[in-house]
């Protein structure tokens, strides 16, 4: 089954209230912001980027105490970023400003390919263009490390993802997927991160959808976990077969989710227990 057909099947199965169909991206973002404000009236919007740590003082303290947890990973990523290819070029040479302030504008829509291109895909496009072996999306030692470094070059920048008119269909696919119930447990992403935002699952507060895309990869037990790897973990918890990292499903989901964080400050390599 191809992606749009699979998405239609999920949409049919969806029981969670999906806000107005095919909303313009900015309307969808404003609608989400209003819903989260109702759900979490005490939480300042600028703290959304802290994720679960914004909702638990003890977790926030631990988060701050471990702010440097990603440094070894970032150093490893920097080595990959500046490593010379066989042709003498580098990853840094594929991106403007050597990669500074780049991550804040990803994912992007490629009008020629009619696909959403994530930062991880852009890295692999560069490797492919120079005849280098591609990085596995789930490999912490390569893709995880290099994105940890590249995203750290955008720390302090505001997320600024654009959805041009030609990309609205992809944005909408991501939005519908976010609200679609999936798997044996019948959860949607929105079940926890909109409807349940601020409540606790087990002992952990559920982070609000807005702000979630600002701090990836996270550093867990010293290793980087990319946003799509985390989405795959969520899908497994939901009892669904996870989409592959780099699939159109996860790319559109990341596109939607990152657009929601527009205006929020990036702080990659957030520590997680």
């Amino acid at each position: 089954m191809r992606f749009p057909e699979r998405l239609a099947a999920f949409a049919l199965a969806a029981g969670l209230a999906l806000p107005a169909l095919a909303a313009a991206p900015e309307d969808a973002r404003n609608e989400m912001a209003a819903a989260l404000k109702r759900q979490l009236p005490e939480l300042a919007a600028q703290d959304y980027a802290l994720g679960a740590a914004a909702l638990d003082p003890a977790m926030r303290r631990a988060f701050e105490e471990n702010a440097a947890a990603g440094e070894p990973v970032i150093a490893a990523g920097k080595a990959l970023w500046t490593r010379k290819f066989k042709n003498g070029r580098t990853l840094a040479g594929c991106f403007p400003n050597g990669g500074r302030r780049v991550a804040a504008v990803y994912p992007q829509f490629d009008p020629r390919l009619k696909r959403v291109i994530t930062l991880e895909m852009a890295i692999n496009q560069c490797l492919k263009a120079h005849g280098e072996a591609l990085y596995d999306h789930g490999d912490a030692a390569t893709m995880g490390a290099v994105t940890a470094y590249l995203r750290s070059l955008s720390n302090g920048q505001k997320v600024t993802v654009r959805v041009p008119p030609a990309a609205e269909e992809r944005f909408e696919q991501g939005r519908r997927l976010y609200y679609s119930r999936m798997g044996q447990r019948n959860f949607a992403c929105a079940s926890c991160h909109v409807q349940g935002a601020g409540k606790r699952y087990e002992d952990t507060p559920l982070s609000p959808a807005i702000g979630q895309a600002t701090h990836w990869p996270v550093i867990r037990k010293g290793a980087p976990i990319t946003l799509q790897e985390r989405m795959r973990e969520c899908l497994e918890l939901m009892g669904a077969a996870p989409f592959p990292a780099g699939s159109d499903e996860l790319n559109t989901l990341e596109y939607f989710l990152t657009y929601l964080s527009n205006g929020h400050t990036m702080q990659a390599n957030a520590w997680r227990p």
Binding site: G15, L16, A17, Q184, R185, N186, F187, S191, C192, Q195, G196, K199, R200, Y201, E202, D203, L206, G239
Partner: protein, 114 residues
Amino acid sequence: MLLRALLIAPALIAGALPANVQAAAAPPAFTARDKGHCTACHQVSDAAAPASRADLGPRLEGARMRELGRIRLRELIHDPTRANANTVMPPFGKHRILEPAEIDRIVEYLHALP
């Protein structure tokens, strides 16, 4: 000070004993991650249940469980979306996360909660 400690210690031990006894009452399907994992979302009015701050679902109180009754509880665990399409609670029976006998044991446990 010593006298106070001696008075408090037996009280703590006495408080712990019933908890250990009650712990056996929660069926494995109620807590197991690959089964109901009910404590991931609900707090339970059972001192022996795993301590949790979970609140995605309402606290499970014996009086409310008995008010609902066994038939209704069984229906809700089987497929809560029939009562509320927007609920985030999984349809444990409909999606075969729990076997009918496991649902029956959970219903009995909930019905007997304090």
